[in-house]
């Protein structure tokens, strides 16, 4: 590109000049601004702090009968802003120490494929789309059984001290190591044995994670012809998008995404018509049939070429992701629903909770999982993202900032769930078995599910905001008149309003969240008539999240398995060997498929029994990631600040190990897998059980054995990894880490950078000036984004 005008170089003051980093040729490559506290800035931060303090006061101290969920949003944003500006910056200065004169792997390798220096705002979008999934939506909804306060506290404070810290540090240290994966870093820094353990741990835990996510999806779609039709449509839509991009208009991604999105909305609207027509029965599938469909789908999605299904599906799901989050945020701000759930319910302190069993410590932390701290993020932060970062100083914005957004999504999901009537919430989230046992003598096999659910709610040991037994109520429109229904009629009205056959026992969190979103959104757009559209819009978006996780993780696991078998049979390493990839995919699909089938057929409710295992697995992966980070911090000699990763590591270890201990050793039948296993076996031995009861008992014995074995395996493997990490720390300390000695680590050698880009989301005055200078004097090949 040539310009006819003489390029204008900006003029700097001497103070500004001193803050600019330059390479050998004098080209600017970074800005190290000294903090300047102007009165305006001080006033701004005082104001933000006051807003945050007001929010926390309203949530945690005032706690009136009517707490508006808008306070969740206000408190979250103020806290995030302060944490990002102060704590994340503190961590950056103490144990990251980014150096913008140093080239990142993206700048160094720049092969136009995976190593590709990407604009920070675009990369933020990519990173967020990769970390955000169904986890932060489902966890908070389930945790709402303990009331709104424990969940809000942990989502907001957890991300500040744990989740954001983990994501940012893993991202930074992986970037310093050529974008190597968590498993490889563990191998390099802890040793061959520890590294292998880390890889195995992650692979096994991925299977349980997939099974539970798929279970959420199955529970949302089972017996729902409308949902099955519209979600099923995403497959032909994605295939058509793939063919369009491959053969008709290569590379026109925006265009095809818009076409796909319109088709998606049409599928949601058309779903009602199909469900009500004579074809409806065709899409009325039982959970077991859906499991078979999911398994077949997962297999083909992993072996088909990515351009045909995976890539176009990612486009669709990114669109839906951004769209729904914006919709939800607007809805909460406009409608400002009042929390119907008390601040803390009885289920925070006992193990009688019908959604999942276990007291606040440790099961709140296990259940919320992704919205506050997620081990899975360590895989993205040590995968695609570190290979695309332009400048080291951008890690805070992408790693910490990306996680703050994820946490915000979790806060909104919680707000949507707690703004539902408590009776409706519990009716939806109790498994049929829980309804039967809670209703007790009032249970009747001849009654409708709604009547039995109402009987169960009347017996449930929980209070509403006024301290009374919760009542099922629902506002609806009958014959053009607004009425408030109660009891079974209210539950039936919910189902009619959202266009489902029934809402009772729709466990898993996704249907609850969808009702919550529909309940908020119909107040913004469309009124009651649009409620069923909003419900299925939300279901569609959760199902899309889950299906894209299912096929992407199946592929990742297939590659890892191929690599592992490749040690014995080298041919398995070749991903283009058709038979090998079919075999490894088959094994992976069979692994999560059988766990999924176990969950779907579990007589005690799959979500109730399996969700804790999912949370434990996820949080244990986070423990692995934080362990590896701690070793790296020690090796760098930053002993004074090793508490930064240690605080979340200790917290996470306490919750996961206590939860595992309770799941393995508790004598409480609601909590301990083995206690239930033994009790059920004894019951069978008495010979009193016959028919369905005997079959259920046998299933319980089998399932608890598998779940109990998995919990033992998880915690033992992680304990082994921690022991090897401790040995690595001792070795590093003996070698003089922290006393000024250089301990060898696997960081890449220094390479000079020749690229400039601002570090934050926006650019300040000096950064804009330097950008203008770089546009004139910088390397045009780097500025072109550097392909090839």
């Amino acid at each position: 590109m040539t310009t006819t005008r003489e390029p204008q170089l900006p003029e700097y003051t001497p103070e500004e000049q001193a803050e600019i980093l330059r390479d050998d040729a004098g080209v600017p490559v970074g800005v190290v601004a000294k903090p300047r506290w102007t009165p305006a800035k001080v006033a701004l931060w005082v104001a933000i702090s006051l807003v945050g303090a007001l929010g926390w006061t309203m949530l945690a101290i005032v706690r009136g009968e009517e707490v508006n969920t808008i306070w969740f949003v206000v408190t979250a944003i103020a806290t995030y802003t302060i944490a990002y500006r102060f704590y994340a910056l503190y961590i950056q200065r103490r144990i990251m120490r980014p150096d913008d004169t140093r080239a990142t792997p993206a700048e160094r390798v720049d092969n136009g494929r995976d190593f590709d220096p990407t604009d920070r705002r675009v990369l933020y979008g990519h990173h967020f789309a990769a970390i955000a999934g169904a986890g932060p939506l489902v966890g908070p909804v389930l945790a709402a059984q303990m009331g709104y306060l424990p969940g809000t506290l942990w989502i907001i404070l957890g991300v500040v001290v744990a989740g954001g810290v983990q994501d940012m540090l893993v991202l930074f240290y992986s970037m310093r190591r050529g974008g190597r994966s968590l498993g490889q870093m563990a191998r390099d820094e802890i040793g061959r044995f520890g590294g292998t353990v880390a890889i195995v741990v992650v692979l096994v835990m991925l299977m349980i994670v997939l099974a539970v996510l798929a279970l959420v999806c199955v529970n949302a779609l089972a017996e729902s012809p409308w949902g099955v039709f519209s979600v099923g449509c995403t497959i032909p839509i994605a295939l058509l998008m793939g063919l369009y991009l491959r053969f008709l208009r290569p590379g026109r991604v925006t265009e095809v995404s818009v076409i796909g999105f319109v088709a998606l909305i049409a599928a949601i609207i058309g779903g009602r018509w199909v469900a009500e027509s004579s074809w409806g029965e065709l899409f009325h599938l039982t959970p077991t049939t859906l499991v078979v469909c999911m398994v077949i789908y997962g297999f083909f999605a992993a072996v088909l070429p990515v351009w045909l299904l995976l890539t176009p599906r990612d486009y669709l799901s990114t669109f839906m992701k951004v769209g729904t989050i914006v919709v939800l945020a607007v809805g909460i701000v406009v409608v400002r629903p009042v929390a119907q759930m008390p601040d803390v319910t009885e289920f925070a302190f006992n193990t009688e909770g019908p959604v999942f069993a276990g007291a606040l410590f440790p099961f709140l932390f296990i259940t919320i999982a992704c919205g506050a701290l997620s081990g899975m993020h360590a895989m993205v932060s040590s995968g695609t993202t570190p290979k695309m970062i332009q400048k080291e100083s951008q890690v805070r914005m992408i790693g910490y900032g990306g996680m703050l957004m994820e946490s915000f999504v979790a806060v909104m999901a919680l707000a949507a769930a707690v703004s539902l009537n408590q009776g409706v919430y519990f009716s939806m989230n109790m498994s049929p078995a829980a309804i039967q046992s809670t209703a007790g003598e009032d249970y009747s096999p001849d009654a409708t599910p709604e009547e039995n659910a109402a009987a169960a709610i009347a017996n449930l040991n929980v209070s509403d905001t006024a301290g009374n037994q919760p009542e099922i109520t629902w506002d609806t429109v009958v014959d053009g008149e607004e009425v408030t229904l109660t009891g079974p009629a209210a539950l039936e009205a919910v189902a009619t309003d959202v266009g489902e056959p029934s809402v009772v026992s729709r466990t898993g969190g996704a249907p609850t969240l969808a009702v919550g979103i529909a309940n908020i959104m119909h107040g913004v757009v469309g009124g009651k008539a649009m409620m069923s559209f909003w419900y299925h819009f939300a279901i569609m978006f959760e199902a899309l999240f889950i299906l894209s996780a299912v096929d992407a993780v199946t592929r990742v696991a297939r590659f890892q398995l191929g690599d592992a078998i490749g040690n014995a049979v080298p041919r398995f390493r070749d991903p283009s060997w058709r038979l090998g990839s079919w075999l490894t995919t088959g094994v992976v699909v069979a692994a999560w498929g059988s766990l999924l089938l176990m969950g779907v057929t579990d007589p005690n409710g799959g979500i109730r029994t399996l969700f804790p295992l999912f949370g434990i697995a996820n949080q244990l992966i986070a423990a692995c990631a934080l362990t590896v980070v701690t070793v790296m911090v020690v090796k760098k000699g930053y002993l004074r600040w090793v508490w930064i990763p240690l605080v979340p590591l200790v917290l996470d270890t306490a919750t996961t190990f206590t939860a595992s201990y309770q799941k393995i050793f508790s004598t409480d039948l609601a909590v301990g897998y083995w206690a239930l296993h033994r009790a059920t076996r004894d019951e069978i031995a008495t010979g009193d059980l016959t028919g369905q009861a005997l079959a259920d008992a046998e299933a319980t014995v089998r399932n608890t054995a598998i779940q109990g074995t998995l919990s033992i395996a998880f915690v033992v493997l992680v304990a082994v990894l921690m022991a090897t990490a401790l040995a690595a720390v001792v070795r590093a300390l003996r070698a003089g880490a922290g006393r000024g000695a250089e301990v060898p680590n696997s960081e890449d050698p220094y390479a000079p950078s020749h690229l400039y880009a601002p570090s934050g989301l926006g650019a300040d005055r000096l950064e804009r000036k330097v950008e203008a200078e770089y546009a004139v004097v910088g390397d045009p090949r780097l500025m072109a984004g550097g392909s090839h």
Binding site: G112, V122, V209, L213, R246, G251, V253, S257, S787, H788
Partner: protein
């Protein structure tokens, strides 16, 4: 207003990866001006093939 629309268009094209081909063409011209770059169809096909061998991370 036009500036905002342009920024939105830039962001969407970058986020979806649509702009990647344009950047390839620009980089190609800067580095190997002596021969023509791949056509859009060829370039996207090569990119699809490369993606086939890379495991794609996603999350819960």
């Amino acid at each position: 207003m036009r500036k905002v629309l342009r920024a939105v268009r830039w962001y969407v094209r970058e986020l979806t990866g649509e702009a990647a081909y344009d950047r390839y063409v620009a980089a190609h011209a800067a580095r190997h001006g002596d021969h023509p770059p791949l056509t859009r169809a060829q370039w996207w096909r090569a990119r699809d093939d490369a993606r086939e061998r890379v495991a794609h991370e996603s999350c819960c």
